[in-house]
């Protein structure tokens, strides 16, 4: 077996297989030797030191778009394909990844190239998640290597498929702990022809969430609802005339409020910044991603601010980003009723990245991990550590 070593990692314990069978052979051998693997895509997210493992294994060597059928809204790409390559290919046909994957590099101060396998493994989404669904909702099929080195195929390339268990959705967001993706098939969507944003200044988090709930119950397909500082934003997208119509209807709905309108360019750059958390980039505190029920968000934000940090909202209040001090225990206490994940450790001492699971679920999760990865060689430090 030939293993490629690349620059960037320690040559003796770094591998980037060039095809799926090489990947499978490497995992099979690791299984036999009980060799712990740290799995990475482009290496822009969690760093090796935080996760551990005897070997750093990246799927970045498995690159390239396999098929793209705009008339079927279907794209198949190998896991190591850079997200940027995919977005450019889609844009050339007027399509996009509707879940708007976030780019973590600025926030984490990391380099590297985000890959589609990494995006899927972490179920990375952006502001449009509130209207269009998560990364998980766009997975049509996957190919992956399990913890014994078996190559497994699940799902396919068609939009409707209920044949057998849906492992693609399960692998999405499993952070490489169940299998190493080698190929993903995704549903694409037409890219909105145009967009505008309504900005509401001088509002509190509580007012923002009220605004969001009112806007998101309209039929105007609000595709972004975020809050930071004292401003709330609503994004409308669609064909040009549709965007104008939607904007006017929302202005009427909120006629008691002062509203600024951002045109195309300004809107795009605002949402890119919100998506990638430009407002917390360049700071050094820990950054937490907290899922809550939108109407719980104001109270959680207040509790977090009492810890001394700053919070912003996305997904109509369903997602809180918190940047600031407070140890894992106090942040999770402030986020009571929600789920807090550590995205950037900052100066925090080693802390569990994920919140503990309730007992019944923890049992099922452990049973699933054992099924996919019986020797526990995939990202072993990630879930227990």
């Amino acid at each position: 077996m030939l293993l490629k070593t690349c620059d960037g990692g320690n040559a003796s314990n770094f591998t980037a297989p060039g095809d799926e069978s090489e990947l499978a052979a490497f995992v099979e051998e690791s299984y036999a030797r009980r060799r712990a693997l740290h799995i990475a895509g482009g290496g822009t997210r969690v760093r090796w030191a935080e996760v551990g493992g005897d070997f750093l294994l990246t799927a970045r060597g498995l690159g390239g778009i396999v098929t793209y059928e705009p008339g079927e809204l279907t794209l198949i790409a190998r896991a190591g394909t850079p997200v940027e390559e995919i977005e450019q290919t889609l844009a050339a046909q007027g399509q996009a990844l509707a879940f708007e994957p976030m780019d973590h590099r600025l926030l984490l101060g990391s380099s590297g190239t985000p890959t589609i396998g990494g995006v899927v493994s972490a179920n990375v989404c952006g502001p449009r998640r509130v209207q269009a669904g998560a990364c998980r909702d766009y997975i049509l099929g996957v190919r992956f290597v399990d913890g014994k080195g078996r190559i497994i195929k699940n799902g396919g390339r068609v939009m409707k498929n209920v044949t057998g268990l849906n492992l693609g959705r399960l692998l999405c967001g499993s952070y490489g702990t169940l299998g190493i993706l080698s190929e993903v098939a995704l549903k694409t969507l037409p890219m909105a022809e145009s967009q505008q944003t309504l900005a509401f200044g001088g509002v509190s988090a509580a007012e923002a969430v009220e605004l969001f709930s009112a806007a998101l119950r309209t039929p105007f397909e609000v595709s972004g609802a975020a809050f930071r500082g004292a401003t709330a934003w609503l994004r409308v997208e669609g064909f040009s005339r549709q965007v104008e119509y939607r904007r006017e209807r929302l202005i009427t709905l909120f006629r008691d409020r002062k509203i600024d309108i951002y045109g195309e360019e300004e809107s795009r750059s605002l949402w890119r910044g919100l998506r990638d958390l430009h407002h917390f980039a360049g700071t050094s505190d820990a950054v937490w991603r907290i899922f809550v029920k939108p109407t719980d968000a104001p109270a959680v934000v207040a509790a977090l601010q009492a810890l001394g940090g700053d919070a912003s909202l996305d997904w109509g209040g369903g997602l809180i980003w918190y940047c600031g001090s407070g140890d894992a225990v106090s942040v999770r206490k402030a986020a009571e009723g929600g789920q807090a994940t550590l995205v950037r450790g900052g100066a925090l001492p080693a802390s569990p990245i994920f919140p503990p699971e309730p007992k019944g679920i923890a049992y099922l999760s452990a049973a699933l991990r054992k099924t996919f990865d019986p020797a526990g060689i995939f990202n072993p430090g990630l879930v227990d550590g």
Binding site: G71, I152, G156, V162, T163, L165, N166, P219, A367, K370
Partner: protein, 485 residues
Amino acid sequence: MSTIAMPTPDEAIIARKSEIVAALAAALPAETIVSDPEETRAYECDALTAYRCPPLAVVLPRTTEEVATAMRICHGLRVPVIPRGAGTSLAGGALPTADSVVIGTMRLREFLEIDTANRYIRVQTGVTNLSVSAELESEGFFYAPDPSSQLACTIAGNIGMNSGGAHCLKYGVTANNLLGVRMVLATGEIVELGGPLLGASGLDILSLICGSEGQLAIVTEATLRIVPKPEGARPMLIGFDSAETAGECVARIIRSGVLPVAIEYMDDVCLRAVEAFSKAGYPDCPAVLIVEVEGSDQEIADQIERIRAVAAELHPIEFRCSRNADESQAIWKGRKSAFGAMGRLGDYLCLDGTVPVSKLPYALKRIGELSKKAGLEVANVFHAGDGNMHPLILFNANRPGDLERAEALGNDILRLCVDLGGCLSGEHGVGVEKRDLMPTQFAPDDMAIQMEIKGAFDRAWLLNPAKVFPLEASRPHREGAATCS
């Protein structure tokens, strides 16, 4: 006789019927238990009526706790359990075996919570699909997945099969609209997954449950995403002189950047049956598309114009756009009554294999050839926007050998779907109907890992054990489980 085999029922379990019923009766209210052979017959099949077998007994609990009690008892006595909703499965997903207990969730009918500010509804899973939208009507919301059986089928079965409907081109299938569940594991333990949050940090076990065909757990409560009702919707009907052109039109509409809520297809066999049945005023042509768009009047008009321009390049024989509610209803009337209309022509098998949209024209042509070769008529009516075909194979159940020929033709058609890059089932599930075809879509390892997952949830392999996986492939798992303590 029919061609799908079921495992030989365990005589030892059948012999213990009175012990099993007594154990259930000791722990559950009398009215939840059905054990009289006359009455259990009502549960002998689902909508795949060619296959029937009354179960040992039926339990119809009214609470999650009662489901858990029934499940715990069956687990303790090692009795297979068949979860059942309304029994409208077309795949035999709710088909019992003689040594099984059916646990039906249709009496769990409460609406537990509506939260429009956070956009979800929480229900017990015995409520029907349509009643969820009805419950939301006054709030201006609806529940998006809309199987044609929505008047009868329950949320439990929708989750079991990950059901879809005509409008899932835009709104997605059940998996895209399911936020959380409360469920009972094979051991009787109650577990909650997900909830109103838009994200979760652990493994997405919920996605495994959705579409698991009653093999992993019995789902008793569900949190569902709700969607604001559109301002309006309008269908148009486009007739073409060939299936190929209609198929091409579907791909071109999608490529043009408009995303209709639904694109439905009907061929001439179906059109004629529908016309005779419902007098919907459909044109007599080889292929018709029904395309529906949503929005304000202006948004609708704009989208129609775009679609009209795309269709015009392909010279349709007919382009009819609804101008008012009555005309919209007329356009949908025929499509909605299609299954009923076909039923009047005789018995039919309804397949739901999916192919990539670009392969639709070829698939239709091949189905025509296969149908001719088999000497059985096939009508096509389906969700074209996502390539989810519904070939209806017409046969006569009273003519010896006809069912077998129809099933053989069905298998050929489903193999064709897989060969073209599609799948065996787009929305009805595998059940027993497509069970033995699984190896055409999955390699041994692809299937092995799914059976291992089933075993991780249900070590004794008691939940719906004879479904989804070919009996030969699941035998070691089932037999291994039977001997495990």
